[in-house]
Symmetry: C2
Subunit: 249 residues, 2 copies
Amino acid sequence: MAGPRNRVGRAFAVLEAFTPERPTLPLSEIARRAGLPLTSTHRLLGELCESGALERNADGSYRVGLRLWEIASLAPRGVPLREAALPFLEDLYEVTHENVQLGVREGRDVVYIERIAGRRAVGVLTRVGGRFPLHASGIGLVLLAHAPDRVQDDVLEGPLQRFTEHTITEPARLRRVLAQVRRDGVAVSDRQVTDDALSVAAPISDSSGEVIAALSIVAKAGATVAARLAPAVRAAALGTSRALSARRK
Amino acid sequence: MAGPRNRVGRAFAVLEAFTPERPTLPLSEIARRAGLPLTSTHRLLGELCESGALERNADGSYRVGLRLWEIASLAPRGVPLREAALPFLEDLYEVTHENVQLGVREGRDVVYIERIAGRRAVGVLTRVGGRFPLHASGIGLVLLAHAPDRVQDDVLEGPLQRFTEHTITEPARLRRVLAQVRRDGVAVSDRQVTDDALSVAAPISDSSGEVIAALSIVAKAGATVAARLAPAVRAAALGTSRALSARRK
């Protein structure tokens, strides 16, 4: 694998070596994952630790540093969006005691910004900072329905990964569903991600009216009727949109 | 101002130009804040945008990118700690409807990792990713009480900033308070940060028994008795410690 061209790109390749499965890595594994020689990886690690982007564990391995997290918490689509949405997410959680989620689109994926997980609620696959394909979940369907045409075309060209027998993997059908999501102002994913979960999602807009995020409730399929959850989900999304616009002014 | 020596350090200086007050910056301001020439700042910005660490706004200014936030969400003292603590923070919030906070120590400061803000609760100064001196808040007092001796000595040498007339700024008295925090397993900050807030905090330990974080309730001073909140706060902190240990195994 060819390493990135410039030194900043190489430093970023070192940071990208860390994953949810491997949040702690030794030098050799970082070099392998970044596609860089050991010596230059070692030098980059020294510089990254000096700046606080990485931290060293007692056993000599490395982890992502709190200083990087502090800076990254300024990403407008991360913490500030979450802070605007949190009161509305909390209200949804308190009313339903189901899983409540907030996500944005990055390329062809949802990135999950926030998750309030009910301890007695149905299991979900997501984690904060984690990714999931756009075409399966409620949040993903909302974000895909409001994505630029080129993104929609790109996703519809496939392949559309199948998660359950209910996942929509036929492009023509997915296109009709997206049109309906735009009409209804809400998306329903019924057992399209896992066999036992249903999610209802609604779009969050910025002051210009552009859809920049979506929030959802994930509940147990069968035990819940989507139509009963939709008004609360839409109200929370509208409240968040209003909070974001108010903050702008 | 002399710029940092190495290229990674310079790239990090560019990232550090962004602040909660200025999450969006033009090239010239980034160069000024990073102490770097315009030309090399421009080149670094290009490389940082290419890797996704920064994003460009429609008006040509820059913001911290979602890609950086994704990687930073792997910092063990950030999101993973928060995920372990969140169910217990939610329970505290649901029982009290007061502000609930989670923080770790970074140098002489608390860094706030999570905050659930009651909309009808007393106002607080913190934000997620924000910092505050150790010696004033409940969380800060817990983290200071369990910090290495050299950190305690450093903080006690002062200066100890005064926020209200109740802030402890006398080193000998602060040392006695810290000893008591270690004895009681709980810290109370009564109007030591703002004139109307009281916080009760308790330590969170990892599997080796080392205190790595603290959580607190912030309530309206006078309307609340600290002794009434302490058992719930301690139980939530113990629950989080247990969840962290279980995850390790």
